[in-house]
């Protein structure tokens, strides 16, 4: 309250003492509104990122914390000791390259599968009449109300060789030896798609529900069969939702650790698992940090390219 700070201060006075000096500094109301998220990103993203980047450039050491300081200061001279060996090491050992490729591949295939499964679901929800639509949306986000870990564990119970699925198939006589499903790449795909499907459905739903029915009617009226209408009208107009949904599945799936750990086998070597191993088992923080930085670059670069392509397409 202005009254508490300066008794009798009128609104123009308040303006003179607060907003006006800020405005002189080039801070209008608009910049102030943007300032909050900028500070947020700075504190919770950029600074941690710089810390990790710093660690990735240091020498591992048996100490607390387990890495050498980046430089020394002998009172007169600052010696920076940047160690790029951690990055070189990542290139040396094919394990890391394989893990990156496998992670990206798994994340990509999972996102594509989630898109194929999520699109019809989002479409159906968006086309449903009102009371049912809300119910269906609720069902989509319902799984979030139980622990993610618990749900992935539950899949173990389904996929085990003596799990629900195998028991059922054997009992009905469809198979007589249990299928190996747990600890396979299939289980990892299944886990990722299952977990991240809502993130695909929600942005797709948001674009599809805005789609004007009369555009679909116009397309049909001009001679387009339903499939042609889908590819020429519905899909292009829902592209923002497709890209958002794809990214929301693809990006976190690259770094996914829990799902490959619980459902994957010894050879599902995803980068999240490697990171975990370096950090906790080997206690090699610098290499773990280098792994994390490279992963970030790998994720951010395609994302930026896509954003750019999108912006260019929109400008046309």
């Amino acid at each position: 309250m202005p009254r508490a700070q300066a008794p009798g201060m009128s609104a123009p006075a308040l303006w003179r003492w607060t907003a006006a000096p800020l405005a002189r500094l080039g801070l209008s109301g608009r910049t102030l509104v943007i300032l909050v998220p900028v500070i947020w990103l700075l504190v919770f993203f950029l600074i941690p990122f710089l810390v990790v980047a710093k660690i990735s450039l240091s020498e591992p050491m048996i100490a607390q914390p387990p890495y050498a300081p980046l430089g020394t200061w002998d009172g007169l001279r600052l010696t920076l000791d940047l160690n790029f060996g951690n990055y070189a090491f990542l290139l040396d050992d094919p394990l890391y390259l394989n893990a990156y490729v496998f992670s990206i591949q798994t994340a990509f295939v999972s996102a594509a599968l989630a898109l194929l499964i999520g699109y019809p679901m989002a479409w159906y929800i968006a086309r449903s009449p009102e009371p049912r639509r809300t119910l269906l949306l609720l069902l989509v986000i319902l799984p979030f109300w139980t622990s993610f870990l618990l749900r992935v564990y539950a899949w173990q119970g389904f996929l085990r060789s003596n799990g629900v699925i195998n028991n059922f198939l054997i009992a009905t006589g469809i198979i007589d030896t249990p299928l190996v499903m747990l600890q396979t790449n299939f289980a990892v795909y299944l886990g990722i798609v299952y977990t991240y499907l809502p993130f695909m459905i929600l942005p797709l739903y948001a674009t599809l529900v805005k789609l004007d029915d009369s555009l679909l009617e116009a397309s049909a009226d001009l001679g387009a069969r339903p499939v042609a209408t889908f590819f020429h009208v519905t899909l292009p107009l829902s592209m923002p939702g497709v890209i958002a949904g794809f990214m929301l599945v693809f990006v976190p799936a690259i770094g996914e650790f829990v799902i490959p750990e619980l459902l994957g086998g010894p050879n599902t070597l995803m980068i999240g698992k490697v990171l975990w191993g370096e950090f906790f088992s080997n206690r090699d923080w610098p290499v773990a940090s280098a792994v994390a930085i490279v992963m970030l670059v790998v994720v951010v670069v395609p994302f930026m390219l896509l954003r750019n392509a999108q912006a260019r397409a929109e400008a046309e």
Partner: protein
Amino acid sequence: MTSQVAATLQKPWLDQAENPFVRIHRVTKKFGDFIAVHDVSIDIYKGELFCLLGGSGCGKSTLLRMLAGFEEPSGGRIEIDGQDMAGFAPYDRPTNMMFQSYALFPHMSVERNVAYGLLREGVSRAEARDRTAEMLKMVQLERFAGRKPHQLSGGQRQRVALARSLVKRPKLLLLDEPLGALDKKLREETQFELIRIQESLGVTFIIVTHDQEEAMTLASRIGVMNDGEIVQVGEPVEIYEYPKSRFVADFVGSVNILEGRVTEDEANFIRLGCPDIGAEIHVGHGFSCTLNQTLWYAIRPEKIRLTRERPEGRHNNAKGVVEEVAYLGNLSIYRVRLDSGRVIRATKANLSRHEDGAITWDDPVWVSWDDTAGVVLSA
């Protein structure tokens, strides 16, 4: 005889032998319990420019949407070019529709919007490009071919929508309030453009409108709808001069409706006792009615003459005082309160720029009209 042949060529609905191009037969549409279109039958002939006219919510769009195939009739049948349309999807019908909202594809340029229908039909790219260019030229949008719909003005969008529905040269073109968003001048230009297109391409048009002036300008025939039903179908002159009911008389143009009882019923005239104007109305033609039956007499404002003196030799006249004058430029509208208390509307063309002694506020006047000027209505 030859003139009659010419007349039926121009007016196929007068020719008993002619087959209608669109036959709407006892069509009904229900949404749940609500009857949006009730037992509508209309025959529309090739090359017609047929206007569906009616107030908001009377079922015009619903009827049009059934023709386009977006809604299935709950009852009755629709035939286009002799073929029953039941079960035909919109993409299998020989119709194109121009939507009330235009429904232009926002992600496509003007050119791609217009070419869309041709490409779906399997027309080659080169031909589609030529025909699109030709159509854009016709609606004077060549310069805007590369723009997206959101970069156009309302009137330009409307012309894109028109071009898109015309480019496939459909046998039947359905236009839902096509000119609603345009200003008066652009609307008039486009009306004449529509008539020109219709004459040069020979397409059959069905146009929905709630603007009676637009219907009068455009239509070969008008179908007036009320509450889901067709109340009258006829040529503009017929609808205007010979309305069949008070609703039609009132909806199309401005009218004075007087209630009266039959006091004399002769072969070549009838007389109505009309307390509204405190006099008897003499109708110069026979009408099948009975004595004392209640009838209505509809007389248009422009058919009423205003004079300062009691007119001689006119059967129908009444005395009153000018209550209000509205000057509209080309004509003036007078509201005259008769001695009976009833207000009558009359219009007078402003033939000269300045008139000495013109009738104005509070002047005592006589209103009068010919004994054939009005219409007797029994409903």
